[in-house]
């Protein structure tokens, strides 16, 4: 029963959110709030690192769909990294890999922001 936690790392022009635990209909508001805070600070280059995320349901996937348009309009992006195979499968089942960039590790995700 580990609940859900987010920690944040700020780099030059990129911020990474590290999710851990369970992202479901109960814990989704925590994740939404974290993204909202970034947008309020005009941070649009976002990496969501899921290394320690044990579980995601469609409620969690919804957060990505809910914010991505606004973020891309501002010239930013949400890039995903470090998905466990269990979590990746859920993203994959719904076709997320065609619409979101998913990287093995955070550094690669970071470099993709810098290149663009």
């Amino acid at each position: 029963m580990s609940g859900f936690d987010i920690s944040r790392s700020d780099f030059d022009n990129i911020t990474a959110l590290h999710l851990s635990g369970f992202l479901d209909a109960h814990t989704v508001p925590v994740f939404e709030d974290a993204i909202q805070s970034l947008l309020k600070e005009d941070i649009y280059n976002i990496i969501v690192n899921m290394q320690k995320l044990d579980y995601i349901s469609s409620a969690g996937l919804g957060v990505f769909m809910g914010f991505i348009e606004e973020i891309r309009e501002k010239g930013g992006d949400i890039k995903l990294s470090n998905l466990s195979s269990k979590v990746y499968k859920v993203f994959d089942l719904l076709g997320f890999p065609a619409l979101f960039e998913i990287y093995e590790n955070e550094d690669t995700a970071k470099s993709k922001f810098n290149n663009s």
Partner: protein, 147 residues
């Protein structure tokens, strides 16, 4: 340590998202004991989460005074999970196939749950009787390779 061939389980639990974790572990434990491989256990767990989330959100509109009603039927060939709510019901045949690109542009956060259930499970059947008994039955067979 012999195994009982046919089993049923019934869980009634307050309709609260905070209980999803308890429900998932309960389902996970039964599915594991039933002999499903890890991937199938994960799939069953997620499908049940989606169905319960729908009952909490749509049928009971987050009123934690209502109770979720979850039954599990186990035999040597399959596991069936039945989730019942007494909410307003809906028409499961009229749901669009989710279009992620459209959803993203419209900042739509939902509409994936039932599609996921259908992808994850071998059989998904609804029986809707608004205000009385809306039920979704989720079935996974033991011998089939995961979807």
């Amino acid at each position: 340590m012999k195994k009982t061939r046919k089993q049923k389980f019934k869980l009634k639990i307050s309709s609260a998202t905070e209980n999803l974790e308890i429900i998932r572990e309960f389902i996970n434990n039964i599915a594991t004991k039933a002999g499903f491989d890890e991937e199938s256990v994960d799939q069953i767990e997620l499908a049940v989460d989606e169905a319960c989330t729908n009952a909490i959100k749509h049928a009971y509109k987050y009123s934690t005074k209502r109770m979720l009603d979850i039954s599990v039927f186990l035999d040597t060939e399959k596991m069936e999970i039945v989730i019942i709510d007494k909410g307003g019901g809906f028409n499961p045949d009229k749901l669009p196939v989710p279009n992620l690109e459209k959803y993203m542009r419209a900042a739509k956060v939902g509409g994936l749950g039932i599609h996921l259930m259908r992808t994850l499970m071998d059989e998904v059947n609804f029986s809707i009787n608004p205000g009385k008994k809306n039920q979704v039955s989720l079935v996974k067979y033991l011998d089939r390779k995961s979807a």
